[in-house]
Amino acid sequence: MTTVTTQPPVERPKIARSRRYAVNTRYVPVLATLVLFGVMYGIGIANYEGFSDTQVLLNVFIDNAHLLTVAIGMTFVILSGGIDLSVGSVLALGTVIAATLLKAGWNPFVVILIVLVVGALIGLAQGAIIHFFDIQPFIATLAGLFLARGIAQLISTKAVGITDEFWTTTATERIHFGGFRLSPSALIAIVLAIAAALALAYTRFGRNTYAVGGNAQSAELMGLPVARTRVLVYTLSGLCAALGGVLYSFETPTGNSLTGTGMELDAIAAVVIGGTLLSGGSGFLAGTVLGVLVLGLIQTMITFQGTLSSWWTRIFIAGLLFAFILLQRIVTRREPT
């Protein structure tokens, strides 16, 4: 065996090495989504009268405030490499609890607090089961889906109307600026989105979420608080879903155990359309906002189209979704691997 030279005999050449991809490819999916969203909006304007009114765009925010809220929580979960199927049910449970308590004459702020706490607790339980007992997120949150809706049905199988003063005024309230209107719900959702984006980019919790999603095992070995991050992510998602319930019950002042069926898919779709990888670790909150807007815009286009029969509505949604995703894929496509 020859000895390894411990001292390089020749002066080591200085090489600017391994400088890779000049453009930061991380932003490509989000940018592409943004551009395609613009294109879609343009198509809407070209085809439908009155579509160009900026208020139409703001209405998308107003109409989808709850979905955005839910999708924000979902973004954290998906970034961490998990999935949360329980959000739609937790949202429904939130509306039912709120409606029932309000009917019993509780203070609206206490009610909101209780709803949020319940949502967070459900999320916490799911996160704990997933992390500490090594249960697949899909299953744990599917059980959560059954559980939350089950509790909601237990509380009331009938839809409960909300007549609380605070609720109804918040529902009708519109924040005016420069001739445009936003609902308080939309404002809350937007503020939450900004806060979440900042949290993802500028807090340890946010970065840990990415790390856990990239490779949970490595994150553990790097000494990151994987347990805390995982549990917190699901707690956050539960909290967001419950908040979504509150916002939803502002817009449609009812507590109904059947609301939000399939909303988990909408939320997941919004997140994934926004360029976030379902396998975790890669994506941005801005993408999620765009994803929600895309889904909302599709819905708006259908309303403007106006004459679609029920089944054509579905086919039309699928078609638009397909066109969008296909284009997005083509735009962001790099080499085949």
Binding site: G50, A159, V160, L258, T303, G306, T307
Partner: protein
């Protein structure tokens, strides 16, 4: 001009009435028949119909109504997905001076000025009719009358109401007992599956009450597979009176059907014209509905549209 004598159709200068209709969805054959009826009678009545499908989501329905308000239609009609939570958007319609007609399902708003009228069936009454027929029919019966009930989707208004109406009516006869009551989700497949299991768990059952025809039709398959005769060994009462149900009724496989007609298009169009003309209409209009025995079904079947 079917558009009628009213040159005063608000907003539109062509005098034609524009109606925005926000449908619940296309969750059942009943619903699609309802949609068809509305579309066809709108055409026949010369009313321009803007139609949207909410896919069972209240939020979508609210969105659709808002967009009808924005488009300044002459009249808005909709079948609420659920009863509560409509005050806000109805207020908006009222502020825009657009009359609203509810179809099929009611809303629970205290302020009834928010809508002009509600046309539709009374689900509680339907349940009651079913129950009353059973009480009548059981008079002759010696032994206990053991009922299996196939409920509609848990939490849905028709399911809740048809259950409670039925329960009220059968109180009249202590012989009648509901031995099992299960969610059959309004579908044939579920109706069959649930019935298969219940027949084995409750061999003593001799009556089936299904919240709609479809579940009843599924249950018939299960009953036949169990070697019993539907309509004889097990008497069957259902609600809806769709064509398939009526066929089974005329064949003697069902004993009694309470009609819940989806064909309220013509009535709706009439009302719309009156409302747009500013005429006062009844707050609550029941759809013209009846009940069918086996003989009546044989007679009615040839004219059955759906």
């Amino acid at each position: 001009g079917c558009g009628g004598d009213s040159g005063s159709g608000s907003g539109n200068d062509d005098g034609k009435i524009t109606m925005g209709f926000a449908q619940v969805g296309a969750e059942s054959g009943w619903r699609t028949a309802n949609t068809k009826s509305i579309q066809e009678s709108a055409k026949a009545a010369g009313i321009e119909l803007k139609f949207s499908d909410a896919q069972q989501k209240q939020e979508n329905q609210i969105k659709a109504i808002r967009s009808y308000i924005a488009q300044k239609v002459d009249v808005i009609a909709f079948s609420p997905v659920i009863e509560s939570g409509w005050d806000q958007v109805l207020k908006e319609a009222k502020d825009a001076e657009i009359p609203v007609i509810l179809t099929d399902r009611a809303v629970d708003s205290k302020d009834t000025s928010l809508y002009e009228t509600f046309i539709g069936s009374d689900f509680v009454l339907e349940g009651k009719k079913a129950g009353e027929w059973l009480v009548e029919d059981s008079k002759a019966a010696k032994g206990p009358v053991n009922v299996i009930q196939l409920e509609g989707t848990t939490g849905a208004a028709p399911a809740n109401d048809r259950k409670s109406g039925f329960a009220d009516a059968i109180k009249a006869d202590p012989k009648i007992k509901v031995v099992a009551s299960q969610d059959g989700d309004f579908t044939r497949a579920k109706g069959k599956e649930v019935m298969e299991a219940l027949l084995k768990a409750h061999p003593e059952a001799n009556v089936l009450y299904a919240h709609n025809d479809d579940m009843g039709l599924g249950a018939i398959e299960a009953i036949e597979a169990a070697g019993k005769k539907p309509g004889v060994d097990i008497k069957i009462v259902t609600v809806d009176a769709v064509k398939d149900g009526m066929t089974a009724l005329s064949e003697g496989k069902i004993n009694f059907i309470v009609e819940c007609s989806p064909l309220l298009g013509p009535q709706l169009m009439d009302l719309a014209k009156q409302v747009v003309d500013g005429k006062k209409v009844e707050k609550r209009i029941l759809t013209e509905e009846t009940t069918f025995t086996q003989e009546q079904a044989k007679a009615a079947l040839p004219d059955r549209k759906y």
